[in-house]
Symmetry: D2
Subunit: 343 residues, 4 copies
């Protein structure tokens, strides 16, 4: 039974585990004030290569990071704009609302936001009977595997600038985005164009952990208070630090993401060869296809994956590859599917 269910099925990449073993008997101060966290911060800053300083905060997971950022940045009557497909809208059990903030939804264009939709929301919120739109939340790669081009992100950044909106990028799969075919964004571009973004570790080889990069100076103060208050401050913060040290050594972050994309691309090409219909257009490590329900049932005997959009006769399924996915798993899956399809 091989699982294409997600990109967080295995504990962690060997380099991560090796690093933890290496420092197993070392004593470190707690709460992220250790030298490993400090060093990891430097490696990430170097990767971003900006002339002005950015803050880097290591957090434990995506929902926690999104909740802390939004809780920290917004005042009570301010709201965040997201696509209907945005992770904060549906899949975080109301975490944003629990922090007191409305999520204003705009249509999803294959997971992405259009600048015009942002402007429209701003124009609709005119007085004190409505919330004040103050932040734009996007994810890159998006929840459906698509990525923003430099032109697209620049356009969104501009509209945010015009309307005094904070731009925040959920980078749970930022590695996948930055190493995708067709990507023309660098991590430096993202730091230039946004106010804050996070670099996902959980879905790219770590045990857990995300690195939040705060670019906008106004958002930096007291951020550790917000982490602590939201239960996101790990006592052994150095464990996250050690992991990100390893992840940003020898380009491991990019290598792992690239592998996931490459395997996904092979899968995509072979599915195309089989004339399978795609449910969404993705250039990253999530591929969405439509299959008859009886075919899905037969595949589930040998593979694990998520049924994304259930229909009466056919459904969309999601196939996720990761840093850990062997090409053989894809080959076998394709062979089995081919057999089922009688091709």
């Amino acid at each position: 039974m091989y699982s294409f269910r997600n990109d967080y099925s295995e504990i962690a990449h060997k380099n991560i585990l090796d690093a933890l073993s290496k420092y197993a008997s070392e004593q470190n101060v707690g709460y992220g004030l250790d030298s490993h966290s400090s060093n990891a911060r430097k490696l990430i800053r170097k990767q971003i290569d900006r002339d002005i300083d950015v803050d880097v905060r290591f957090l434990i997971g995506g929902t926690s990071c999104n909740k802390i950022v939004i809780s920290h940045v917004l005042r009570p009557f301010e709201a965040v704009i997201a696509a209907t497909t945005g992770h904060i809208n549906v899949h975080e059990a109301g975490a944003i609302e629990a922090s007191g903030h409305k999520v204003i939804t705009v249509p999803s264009h294959n997971g992405k936001l259009l600048p015009a939709d942002i402007t429209k929301v701003v124009h609709e919120h005119v007085d004190e009977h409505m919330v004040v739109p103050k932040m734009v939340y996007i994810s890159n790669a998006t929840e459906t595997g698509s990525i923003y081009t430099k032109a697209e992100l620049t356009a969104i950044s501009k509209v945010c600038h015009v309307h005094n909106l904070i731009l925040y990028v959920d980078g749970a799969r930022l590695g996948a985005a930055l190493t995708a075919i067709g990507n023309d964004l660098t991590i430096n571009d993202i730091a230039q164009l946004t106010d804050l973004f996070y670099i996902g570790g959980t879905k790219n080889g770590t045990l857990f952990g995300e690195a939040l990069v705060i670019v906008n100076d106004d958002l930096k103060n007291n951020f550790r208070h917000s982490i602590k208050q939201n239960g996101g401050m790990l006592a052994k913060g150095f464990i996250t630090g050690i992991q990100f040290e390893a992840l940003f050594t020898d380009d491991l972050f990019f290598k792992l993401a690239k592998h996931a994309n490459e395997v996904a691309n092979i899968l995509k090409n072979k599915l195309t060869d089989l004339n399978v219909e795609f449910f969404a257009s993705s250039s990253t490590n999530q591929q969405f296809i439509n299959l008859d329900n009886n075919i899905i049932t037969r595949l589930l005997e040998k593979y694990d994956f998520e049924i994304w959009n259930k229909g009466n006769t056919s459904s969309a399924i999601r196939l996720v590859t990761s840093w850990a996915t062997p090409i053989e798993a894809v080959d076998e899956f394709i062979n089995d599917l081919k057999a089922i399809l009688n091709k």
Copy 2:
């Protein structure tokens, strides 16, 4: 430089790291729905050995656990009673209030609550102009290293029962409490006497992670919603599961805590021999002593520890031992202190 700063200075006990390495290439489902979490749950249930079922939820840390529990259990106008020294009162950056709930403080008696103080709070809160006291929060071992006896916990449990209050035990250092000299409580007793409690991993050998035990049936429903909403649900939940499997195999949980206590006891006895004044009476792995500030300054050249209560000429310091503290570290510390004291 040896650190007595806390009991979470080292990554994790060897058994924990070995378990993670052992399962490094295994695929698991996410969010705590894996077989390791399930097995760890069984091991903890077996340890508790209760005839009725308890729920076990694996969480990432103490503040997160406290916040989730209180947010889940209380209605908006309900409040939690804690000692002034209680962790939720001062050291969680307002996490409980951020969830909307007042922390009503009562005097600390060497870190512990007295039943009479609970009754007094209940009697003072008479109408709708005041919050409704609904939960009692205690920690065992307490923040100052003391422990509850079975008689004391039974008395608190009774007063909670009389006034329809939920009793919750913060067990960040439950291992230390249960293996302390003078302890007469078992983990089964705690399950009999309380509504929920957590078994601390972070301060007893894991990378991170606490096991919340929900005894009271009324509090079980939708608990996973509360975990998710508060950002406490780890994608790779199986990592916590694997750690607690190891911790509750071959009594590792108790062995590690016992070691920490034993080393602390040696330290305590030798400090007593040196006629050092104790700031608090502790039978667990935290020892608090008063020293002249110039002596503290000299000790800090070679040791790391927390200054707990700063005075102009003398201060209280906290010395914490752990599962990882070698007896040699204590011997050396005592010798150095003796030399400084010219004894």
Copy 3:
């Protein structure tokens, strides 16, 4: 300059002001525990004429009432379903989200919800990564002036019962609904079919104040705590009590609402005679029509009203009548409009 801007432009109906004057020198206990509030409660219970007891709570305004109800009823991870046009969704400055709860929107059918949309939401929220839909919010009359029939409300009530959802009716304009042409609901029906609803005073002749009727026993306890905590408990609660005593004496509540509807109906018929296009179909005291922008500009010289939906060449305007609107105001408006239209 006559204002059709809303139904809360005048201080209060004469009977209300007279009642206040009558009791001006009387001393009363505070916080709604006075005899006037008690008597008003009895009058409302009598009006409802149910064999089981209902609680009646006097609140200060619609947003406050909605916020208190939802905060009181829902647990943190539970959400409320509303039409996109629902007052709580857009026009309460995020009050519901500020209390921690997501508003799940479904399509508006002329301001009303369809049972099938409720079922769909329930089916979509399957696990702990999503909020739990637990309440349905409807308004009657709706924000666009339409009303629910007994069959429609019964169908919604049934679907709520099936899915264990609390049904709450925002009755800011309940008087208008119950006295509208085509209405077949009684206040007793509403009490039979819902868990709680409020009887609006502000938009039907009082200075301020709404009477919340809590039918469902499970929702009654500690409600006064929720009122107080949300800042909704008036020190001089007897002022609200006195007003509702007057409002439910000699059917004043119904007479005032009926007058507003009758004037609106005359307006509607005359607008129909003028072949003016209606923006929404309303049988109550709000009428929505489309007019060319230049016509609107000319009308605004002499009348005040809200531009509901602004277009480049034509817009929808809202004309609201009230208990205080003289028929002459409608006649004059129609004459002026006729002149502008050259008819």
Copy 4:
């Protein structure tokens, strides 16, 4: 039966009711954007007579005002310092905590705060494991009837300035404070020394309503959003405007408060003559005395008042006078007490 229970037992002063009757048929725009509110704002600004602009916002009650101010001003991890006796600490059903903020208590010195206690709190809150003290809440007159002198308020203002704390005065009984014997503060002084304060109407002759004065420019933006979101925006805001117009015409505000104080002072002197023991030292319209419980029981046959501090044999009672209290009521009470005491 005469009530000394509180200063909000009667509907409203005649001038207030007359003003409402006068404008009964007038149409006004809603939500406080009317000309009466605007005029009342001007009258209050004139009263304050400051060379820089202040914002004036009309709110519905004390708890609502406190909740809105604190919710508006503080970021999530920031806390407010108050005396243990402060209204926000005990008597608002957790309203402040429900908005997410901790109330840090300091000792009450006859209802007042000492600057040294504020400094101590600031020094104790050193890192991100604790909340950030950011606001100081005081009431004037205090909950026990005492008042701040100009020197005392200046000292608190200075310590707030030093530590970058917002100073907020709850003026539910500001009229009583400003007209008390021994008072040397003007309303202008208060505006000079604080960031925001409110001028209480409810306890000084209005039906309801408080006028919040925002002095600090940084706190002004979006305040109406905070009012609306917290359910504190009255549809018929002009009703509050009309009341404050009347209250700040011909010094009514000061005359009413002065009357309450004068009657209280007569009561105080006569109680002193009777050698009754005072529970607290008050120069305003609340007097607190200790009496044997059997004497209290007899007084309760003819008078209503609050038992403030219940003891086994004797208790403290609170006697409150108001703008509406006739001197005769005091005389009669004293005569009756004298008779009971056999003096």
